[in-house]
């Protein structure tokens, strides 16, 4: 008899209010006399650590717009300005929103309105991130600082890349932040945010351990919707609370043998490569579930501060410490993010999470991580 598989989602409803609060606070920040920074890539930490700067983490906006059913409207605004469809949708969402604000074009759901920035910080992990900073700079004259963060080709390259990034940050980014904020960069404040953030991510990583179980008590999509607190409530108690609650649910499910897939758990465990299709999570899982297949692991969701254990929040040079995490720390993000280390990383995820099959989500509207890791196929 054919098994009728059914998904059993975790309760992730705590994310909504937390995310809404973040966006509300961001919209109100200007009235409180704060400066605004729009940030793409890992350099956002420095703006976030600056007390009178409210930071908008740009990668999260696509998921937010998608969730509020506003992605199409904002993307259309971008096209009305002249943006071409072959660019990344993260790019067009921001240039579209900027066009809406600056031209007073109507926005049917004001929840997605963003405050215009005083500073743009583009971390060129992905080079296109810098292109949207440049575009907004050209159109509205907003100061743009773009920092090159190359993915390492080999582990040997890591120390010099780390030095290069540190030099850029100290020479260019920190002075720009100081200029916009009007005060000296507050290293102690950075530590005070990183400490609880580290604690939160350690709990989040305990949740990841449950992906190793067969059957799995949750899916990659449950985690996908739970990513937001990592950066929207960075270092805040509510983010720790969210993951503690998630952990509790996972422990309970494990204890009571409740799998993510009814009746007896998943048949196939999938690796998902590429970004998560925020607006179509439901659509995709509905395609997989009749076969008993669920996504379990992927590189993209593992990108956000994946190894909190590697950071020393008490380091003397805390500015450099964040960069060390990207390059020469034991679990180097920069190497794993690039094509070379990416292959190692994928192999590791496949082993660790007992993956049965792989899905490469390679979309032309977001360029990162799209090569196929093929070898000797001819």
């Amino acid at each position: 008899m054919n098994t009728q598989y059914k998904i059993n989602k975790l309760d992730t409803s705590g994310v909504g209010p937390l995310v809404d609060r973040h966006w509300r606070e961001l919209r109100e920040a200007k009235e409180k006399g704060m400066k605004i920074a729009w940030c793409a890539g890992p350099m956002f930490v420095y703006a976030y650590a600056t007390p009178n700067i409210a930071s908008h983490f740009m990668a999260g906006y696509a998921a937010y717009c998608g969730g509020r059913g506003m992605a199409d409207e904002v993307l259309e605004a971008a096209e009305r300005y002249g943006e071409l469809r072959d660019t990344c949708s993260y790019h067009r969402l921001h240039t579209g929103m900027a066009a809406m604000i600056m031209n007073d074009w109507p926005v049917s759901n004001p929840q997605v309105l963003l405050p215009m920035p005083d500073l743009l910080i583009g971390g060129r992990f992905c080079t296109e991130m810098s292109h949207y900073m440049e575009a907004i700079h050209r159109r509205f004259g907003i100061k743009a600082v773009t920092i090159e963060i190359p993915s390492a080709r080999s582990r040997e390259d890591l120390p010099r890349l780390e030095k290069f990034l540190t030099d850029q940050v100290k020479e260019t980014l920190i002075p720009a932040i100081e200029e916009v904020s009007g005060s000296k960069f507050d290293e102690e404040n950075m530590r005070s945010i990183l400490r609880p953030w580290k604690e939160t991510c350690i709990i989040r990583n305990k949740c990841w351990e449950f992906f190793k179980l067969k059957p799995s008590p949750w899916t990659l999509w449950d985690y996908g919707v739970s990513i937001a607190p990592v950066f929207y409530a960075m270092g805040k108690p509510e983010s720790l609370e969210y993951y503690n609650n998630l952990l509790k649910q996972l422990e309970e499910r494990t204890e009571k043998n409740i799998p993510a897939v009814h009746p007896d758990g998943e048949k196939y465990r999938l690796y998902w490569d590429g970004w998560l299709p925020w607006s179509f999570l439901g659509k995709f899982i509905r395609m997989m579930i009749p076969y008993g297949a669920i996504p379990i692991a992927g590189r993209y969701p593992w990108e956000f501060f994946p190894h909190p254990e590697d950071i020393n929040t008490e380091a003397d040079d805390i500015i450099h410490e964040w960069i060390r995490l990207i390059y020469t720390s034991p679990n180097t993000l920069s190497y794993h993010d690039g094509p070379w280390g990416g292959q190692e990383h994928i192999e590791d995820l496949i082993q660790t999470y007992s993956i049965d099959g792989m899905l490469f989500f390679s979309s032309n509207s977001k360029y990162r991580k799209k090569i196929r890791h093929t070898r000797d196929c001819h």
């Binding site: 072959d86 020479e171 360029y367 070898r375």
Partner: protein, 379 residues
């Protein structure tokens, strides 16, 4: 003239065979470099022939096992050529990080058909012109020099490097002279010929190319500069690849004359010299940071491509701009809307043509070019 042109055409007509033949005859090493900013001079000073990788002469097939169709033409094409073994006459390859797509090509090549020598340069963008980026670039060039010394077994002295820079500067200045002649005498050469002259410079030894250029320029002077009549247009964009020759013919057939460009297989390739100094690596580094012609892949915040184009068009008294956009090239795609707005505000007519590797519908391009021709003054 015809005889000289024949020699220019030889390499672009079949780069695979011509370069392999050169290698066979000279017993020297050939190093393929990925467009657009790898300093060829360092490779030349190592006694090897640097050749700029090109868009291939056939449809992509095996390459699609490695890159999706929505990668830009040069990426798809180099990957396809490499995995098919068509580039095996190259002793080495040098890649760079200039955009997301180009950083992935060496990975695929290494995994499938690794050349004997391979290097990957992390060349940074030039936004802030900061000390960090300059020092880093200098170190990258030094690293390339050292790696080539190890591979070739020959020391690359500063003297040798300066000799190579001189040779390359000469080539650039001759090409600029040719371009100046075209600006003053529109139609002096067909668009397809100008393209093949520049392209051949990317493929053949500069020593030979310089001789050919000198002969061509003196021949042209002897014959008198014959111009043609037509609307004057400026070609812009076309990063990393050469446009189809048929496209250039079509522009002329519709009564337009290309008087200048900033395309890669064009002015962009030979725009900037490196200085001759006691520190040639430093001079190559300084050239990397020159902000014009604006290069969207290298990043800019202080200069503006749209404004740069307006300045050029006004100076040339050109009638309009034909933008050639390498399909799926994010640096150009992201910049284009602002160029369009700038040009519209300045009242400069412009048309956008997307350039792909293979799927190019000349009929639809013709329709667009026809209406553009009418816009700038109908026939």
């Amino acid at each position: 003239m015809e005889e000289i042109m024949k020699q220019f055409v030889e390499y672009p007509s079949d780069p695979y065979t011509s370069i392999a033949k050169w290698k066979e005859n000279t017993k020297k090493k050939v190093i393929g470099i990925f467009p657009m900013w790898i300093p060829e001079e360092i490779i030349h000073a190592a006694g090897m022939l640097p050749v700029v990788m090109w868009r291939s002469n056939e449809a992509i097939t095996w390459g699609y096992a490695h890159v999706p169709p929505y990668n830009c033409a040069i990426n798809k094409s180099v990957v396809d050529d490499a995995v098919k073994g068509k580039l095996k006459f190259m002793d080495g390859m040098v890649f760079l990080r200039q955009c997301l797509q180009s950083q992935e090509v060496p990975f695929i090549v290494e995994n499938n058909r690794p050349p004997a020598f391979e290097e990957y340069l992390y060349l940074p963008p030039i936004y802030h012109g900061d000390k960090a980026s300059k020092d880093f670039t200098r170190d990258e060039f030094k690293r390339l020099r050292k790696r080539l010394e190890e591979f070739g077994g020959e020391k690359i002295t500063d003297e040798k490097l300066n000799e190579s820079i001189k040779l390359y500067n000469k080539n650039r200045s001759l090409l600029r002279k040719l371009y100046d002649l075209r600006k003053e005498n529109p139609g002096i050469l067909r668009g397809r010929d100008v393209l093949r002259i520049v392209w051949s410079s990317m493929l053949m030894p500069k020593e030979e190319h310089n001789k050919l250029l000198e002969s061509l320029l003196s021949e042209m002077e002897k014959n008198g500069y014959k111009t043609a009549k037509g609307k004057k247009v400026f070609l812009s964009g076309c990063l990393c690849i050469h446009p189809q020759l048929e496209l250039l013919d079509m522009i002329e057939d519709l009564g337009m004359l290309v008087v200048d460009d900033d395309i890669y297989v064009g002015y962009r390739y030979f725009a900037n010299d490196a200085e001759i100094t006691d520190d040639p690596i430093g001079a190559l580094m300084e050239r990397h940071f020159i902000k014009t012609p604006v290069d969207p892949a290298r990043g800019e915040v202080e200069v503006n491509w749209g404004k740069e184009l307006i300045g050029k068009v006004k100076k040339l008294n050109a009638d309009g701009i034909i933008t050639l956009l390498t399909k799926y090239c994010p640096p150009h795609l992201c910049y284009y809307p602002d160029i369009k707005v700038e040009l519209a505000n300045a009242g400069i007519p412009e048309v956008l043509i997307e350039v792909e590797h293979e799927v190019i519908s000349l009929e639809s391009i013709k329709t667009r070019l026809q209406s553009f021709r009418e816009m700038i003054g109908g026939r």
